[in-house]
Symmetry: C2
Subunit: 362 residues, 2 copies
DNA sequence: CCCAGCGAGAGGCACGTTTCTGCACGGCGG
DNA sequence: CCGCCGTGCAGAAACGTGCCTCTCGCTGGG
């Protein structure tokens, strides 16, 4: 009987339980709950006493029980749509890494933790965890996971404006058209006569919007488009595409690369063809990597500000989780930053600069 | 009364509950649970019937309730010890990104999801989620978080051998001494007379073991150590340290850089001083980045195989969670891979190669 | 003097599972 | 004919919280 009581009281639990605290403090379970959560109307003396006893016993409330009761888990899903075969292109580019890092930080600052989940609809995993909401990076058109989540009533915020009629709660993105147009103007101002583009074959909105902006700009200024597309998830394909671009008979005298590794690839290809940068070839690429500050020559990069995007996405999501639910998707545009380095300055670059936010690197 | 019944039956629940399934299928709750989990002794006809009804109703079991009942959440924590002020050096280097990606993949393959958590002991966040175990990257000496977790009886597996007497369940690491010794031998074979080291000021075991191995090697071959140390989390400091190393009166004719960005930094510094690579300076750095395949010249890198490490760490952790608990920490050593490129081959490199696994890049 | 009002806290139900125990029933050996 | 056993399933007790409701004692106004 003593055995039975021992079993019932404190056996397999890791020495914590609200009942033990209540018994030790000589109050009821309700009082403990209220004291620790600051909920009820209790004198400060009782509050302190309960907190003290709880600390002394090393009491940790059970997250599972709280989640079951309240319906809130404090967990946010983080998903990136896969490009290739790998389940995670995650952190393939520094962009994703930075974005995820910022998102994690600001989620934690507000008491939430991030759960990394696959974009593939492995139902068992998705339903094995109670989420309060989800961040989706670059959702593809009519993403089945997103629609499923929204159907369940969960807030979904996407990094990158949703393609098609994807019913997300909110989204954050750059103004990719303006960014590309700004870069092309910048290159033209620096003396480029024929600007090429290194782009991707994937169907995400970033690639699509950027390419379209390029084509529109070309049509506007009357230049024939010169571009090569390759599967962005394959690093070798990038080097090959860079080489092809510079091997063309209508070789461009300036190139913008949409993806992070394009800078080194283009630089290597330029060396192979004896092209000097920036004298014979102007170079800009979209990257968050700091390596381009120390290449020879340093390469001008466009930063999409993934830290700001990650932060904004999480703030919007948690606002949606905790606050009033707006009926319309909230849209937020983060400005890009063009970091001008030697590779895009053919002549002494005077103060003539172009639309997006411009920063002068030393 | 009808109102009350409606409330009790199916009001705020998102149209799923084991009771509804049981009622719809005309069986008991027990039967539904057993049928879906393959547990009890039921004829296949009943199993199929229940599964069918559950699918039709779109039934999703509540993860919170299951966790509360079973004590298992299917969640694994992922933590990296912070170096600087930032809460997350996470994904600062491609190493972490790759490792995290591999860990996430293999965890998902076994039905677990990863939760990113801060190394700082923010108790509220850590205790807000029920973990089955934790992966710790580069735990520092006497890490308070780790000891707390172990005290709670949770399995903890670390990437990087634990410093001091940290009581982890298991750990996975490279043989850093052998790797450094191998590289130094490789450089010496290529003709280096005075090999320098670019290292860090942090106290993690990777930096410590590598530096010690370097000093030991120097003592062995009778070379004066030539090295510069800098805080690894600061990219600018890396460039400055690289410059200092090549500006010394006892300038080395070969350098090994312990951190990912060291390659470009050293290359830029070499250019500033008019040193040709590999003719005047041999270069190797530890990196997982593919940019070094296309720099001018391509740089020899040491890969720590973060994908294999991430996979191994998760396998060990899940084995510990599900399987028998061994009393001794399980240790696992992952071989490194030296990817030899132009920067470390002064003469026609004959087949003389050194200890660790060697791969010849084109 | 009596009762409304209020402060302080106790009791108990519900959240949705899993799982232990146990009941009914039919076949079968003794 | 009776008890026994294996099959097929139902009942109900947890798991640890949060919160709603209710009690109890005390006080001030009518």
């Amino acid at each position: 009987m003593n055995r039975a009581e021992t079993c019932r009281r404190g056996k397999r639990t890791s020495r914590a339980g609200i009942r033990e605290v209540a018994a030790a403090a000589g109050v009821s379970i309700t009082t403990v709950s209220d004291a620790l959560n600051g909920k009820g109307r209790l004198p400060d003396a009782t509050r302190r006493h309960v907190r003290e006893v709880a600390d002394r016993l090393g009491y940790r409330p059970s997250a599972a029980a709280r989640t079951l009761r309240t319906g809130k888990s404090g967990l946010i899903g983080l998903t990136v749509t896969t490009y290739g075969d790998e389940p995670f292109t995650f952190t393939e580019f520094p962009y994703f890494a930075e974005m995820a890092r910022a998102a994690t930080s600001s989620a934690l600052a507000r008491g939430y933790a991030l759960v990394i989940l696959p974009a593939t609809s492995r139902h068992d995993v998705w339903s094995n965890v109670t989420l309060d909401g989800t961040v989706v990076i670059d959702p593809s058109d009519h993403d089945p996971v997103v629609t499923e989540l929204v159907r369940q009533g969960l807030p979904v915020v996407s990094d990158g404006r949703p393609a098609g009629s994807l019913p997300v709660t909110a989204w954050v993105d750059n103004d990719h058209e303006a960014a590309v147009t700004g870069i092309l103007d910048h290159l033209a101002t620096a003396g480029a006569r024929r600007i090429g583009l290194l782009t991707g074959t994937t169907t995400d909105t970033y690639t699509h919007l950027s390419t379209t902006a390029y084509l529109n700009w070309c049509a506007l200024v009357g230049q024939d488009p010169v571009y090569e597309a390759y599967p962005a998830h394959d690093p070798c394909a990038g080097a090959v595409a860079a080489d092809r671009l510079l091997a063309r008979p209508d070789r461009p005298d300036a190139v913008y690369g949409l993806f992070d590794p394009n800078g080194t690839d283009l630089l290597a290809a330029a060396r192979r063809y004896g092209l000097r940068v920036p004298d014979d070839l102007l170079l800009v690429c979209c990257s968050e990597s700091s390596v381009y500050a120390n290449t020879e020559p340093p390469i001008t990069t466009l930063s999409l500000k993934p830290r700001r995007i990650g932060t904004a996405v999480v703030q919007l999501l948690i606002d949606a989780i905790e606050g009033v639910e707006t009926d319309q998707p909230v849209e937020q545009v983060v400005p890009t930053e063009l970091i001008v380095r030697t590779s895009s300055q053919r002549w002494e670059s005077r103060a003539t600069v172009s639309p997006p936010l411009l920063t002068r690197a030393r």
